[in-house]
């Protein structure tokens, strides 16, 4: 499902050059729930950004669902992300000026799905994460756990094959964190979605099918 070959990422400024990832090779099969672990600054989120096509590698290639994405232009990349990938961020990244329903509908908006179908799909995923009673609320009116559940609903509304979660429980307390993990596991188990999760939490990582560890930009297992 995801193949990363000889991937390196270097951040350059006028004065310094930082090697974030060096010669990373990995493969993730369809339906896997993979955790990426390592200390802060080791390149976990950078790798996730490369896999999520949010950033471009300095060298190497990323192949997703059998497609090499390196040559795609902005428009094709946007459409590919929209259909194939769903994102869950540590700080939720909900749009504050949109209500829950509009936030969840966002991926379908760029797929030009008619309003009625968008609404039905959004309501369905919101019921799945237990938030139908908060549809007209704005993010500022929700708790952290509720925000993350909205973010998960947004990630899955377009039925992407892959969900990329960057420390999805990092801003939540243990109870809410467990709730979010339960939802992710259900999505993996019941829907067969491939999930790649960056985490610092060893216990949560152990519950996933595989752990990939990083240190100073290198894959260590």
């Amino acid at each position: 499902m995801i193949t990363v070959k000889d991937l390196s990422k270097v951040y350059r400024t006028d004065e310094i050059e930082t090697l974030a990832l060096e010669h990373v090779n990995l493969s993730i099969r369809e339906g896997e729930f993979v955790s990426i672990m390592g200390p802060s600054g080791c390149g976990k989120s950078t790798l996730l950004n490369m896999i999520g096509l949010l950033d471009a590698p300095t060298t190497g290639t990323v192949e997703i669902d059998g497609q090499d994405v390196s040559g795609m232009n902005d428009r094709r990349l946007a459409a590919f992300r929209n259909r194939t990938l769903g994102f869950v961020f540590q700080s939720f990244h909900l749009i504050p000026s949109l209500n829950v329903l509009d936030n969840v509908e966002l991926p379908l908006l760029y797929r030009h799905v008619p309003a009625r179908e968008r609404r039905a799909a959004a309501e369905e995923v919101l019921s799945r994460v237990g938030l139908t009673h908060r549809m007209k609320h704005f993010p500022s009116q929700l708790s952290g756990g509720q925000c993350q559940r909205v973010a998960i609903a947004r990630a899955i509304v377009g039925e992407p094959k892959i969900i990329l979660a960057d420390e999805p429980t990092g801003n939540l307390d243990s109870t809410m964190g467990a709730e979010v993990m339960n939802i992710l596991h259900a999505l993996n188990r019941e829907d067969g979605r491939t999930i790649v999760m960056v985490t610092h939490n060893e216990e949560q990582a152990r519950q996933t099918s595989r752990i990939i560890r990083f240190f100073d930009g290198h894959q260590i297992n």
Partner: protein, 442 residues
């Protein structure tokens, strides 16, 4: 999609009240300034009221004389400017009446006169126009009673006069006064028709009384200098073309006519100086300036309008950048979930356009208020400046005479342009920032 955008705009307006107020007021002020310029322009050039054919009207208002000669080297010919003044009726009759291209040609002189009803002992100081019969073809005066004077009556110097409704009421206390005597500058005329009042801001048609120019000695004055005999006078000519695109053809025909006038032996020669003018050109034609000066005056006004449009757009652009910075995270999220650069730019454009439209409506209301305050100054065009001062008042103009579909289209156009100028660069810049940078708000 639009509904979602509109919902978000409503929310953004409520969330960022200060920004929204500054943004809307900035737009409103800009729209107001441009609206006032456009209203002035429209009053002086648009097809309004009785001047409903102004788009195909052309004006010959001045004569220009030059003296041809050679410079010191004796090789280069030049034409030294000698003078400029309105035209004489003789010159217009002899050289302009024979024009074939126009639909109608009218000799017009506007002045002030003492108007007197001997029977009732009522005296009024009125703005009068000495005109010919074609005048009634060019303007669409509405006759309440009677008729206009005919070409035969003009030729025979018949003392006929058309008066407006307010003059009829002032002199006679009623409007059904056809055949009644009225003295203009102590000469007796008979009323042949009564028309609806013409507002003074329609300066081309404005007067209270109209009578044949052949009956008024002041209109028949002409210069008597040897070379310029019968060129200068107090008159001007309005030309009605069949089509608005006929200006150049009429000009060529006029040039041909004045060639006959400018015999080579004459020391001074008459030049048209780019006449006949359109309504807009005639607004800018002042005193004896050559056409280049008139044209540069028009350019200056155009530049002022552009500056009025660009300066606020730059300020608004700064505001938009500030708001985009705050919304960088949102841009990142939208891109992550499939928005392309084009879609984001479209969204920002429409968001700002809606806000500008609100600013446009506020600007329209503001311009209404300011229009009421400065109306008298606005309505005194260059052409009626002296006359209006003498009249001592400017007719009431309803704002909604000039705010119609045209004006609303102007406002929409202004908003669209402002939006385009102010949004394009920030939207382009922010829609292209890398997703990771946007998400991290770097």
């Amino acid at each position: 999609m639009w509904k979602v955008y509109l919902r978000q705009i409503r929310r953004l307006l409520r969330e960022n009240k200060f920004f929204s107020v500054v943004y809307i007021l900035g737009t409103a002020l800009s729209v107001t300034m441009i609206m006032l310029i456009l209203i002035t322009y429209y009053i002086n050039t648009g097809n309004i009221g009785v001047v409903d054919k102004r788009d195909r009207m052309f004006f010959v208002t001045r004569s220009y004389t030059v003296k041809p000669g050679k410079d010191i080297s004796g090789n280069n010919f030049y034409k030294a400017f000698q003078g400029s003044a309105p035209l004489s009726h003789k010159m217009l009759e002899k050289y302009m009446y024979p024009l074939q291209v126009p639909e109608a040609k009218s000799i017009v002189g506007q002045t002030q006169s003492a108007v007197y009803n001997k029977n009732k002992q009522v005296y009024e100081e009125k703005s009068v126009a000495c005109v010919d019969a074609d005048y009634w073809k060019i303007f669409s005066m509405r006759f309440l009673v009677g008729r206009p004077f005919t070409e035969a009556e003009v030729k025979s110097k018949a003392p006929q006069v058309v008066i407006d409704e307010s003059t009829a009421r002032a002199l006679f206390g009623k409007i059904d006064v056809v055949g009644y005597p009225v003295e203009i500058n102590w000469k007796e005329y008979r009323v042949c028709g009564v028309v609806e009042d013409v507002p003074s801001y329609l300066s081309d048609a404005y007067a209270h009384l109209w009578y044949p120019y052949t009956t008024e000695s002041r209109c028949l004055f002409s210069s008597d200098s040897e070379d310029l005999k019968d060129v200068y006078g107090p008159m001007k000519m309005y030309v009605l073309a069949h089509d608005r695109g006929d200006q150049e053809r009429i000009r060529q025909e006029m040039e041909h006519q004045i060639q006959q006038m400018n015999a080579p032996a004459k020391r001074s020669q008459f030049v048209l100086n780019h006449q006949p003018d359109t309504a807009l050109e005639s607004v800018f034609r002042m005193s004896s300036d050559p056409y280049e000066k008139i044209y540069s005056r028009m350019q200056i006004v155009f530049i002022i309008i552009v500056v009025l449009l660009v300066l606020p757009a730059i300020n608004l652009s700064g505001l938009i950048v500030a708001r985009m910075k705050k919304r960088a995270g949102e841009i990142g999220v939208r891109k992550a979930f499939g928005a392309s650069v084009g879609e984001l730019m479209r969204q920002f454009f429409w968001e700002n356009f809606v806000q500008m439209l609100i600013g446009g409506v506020v600007g329209l209301c503001l311009s209404y208020g300011i229009f009421q305050l400065v109306r008298e100054t606005l309505l005194v065009s260059y052409r009626t400046m002296n006359m209006a001062a003498k009249v001592g008042h400017v007719d009431m103009l309803n704002f909604f005479h000039v705010v119609n579909m045209h004006t609303i289209c102007y406002v929409l156009g202004i908003c669209f342009l402002l939006n385009l100028i102010s949004t394009l660069v920030p939207a382009w810049r922010y829609a292209r920032i890398p997703i990771v940078d946007a998400l991290n708000r770097r």
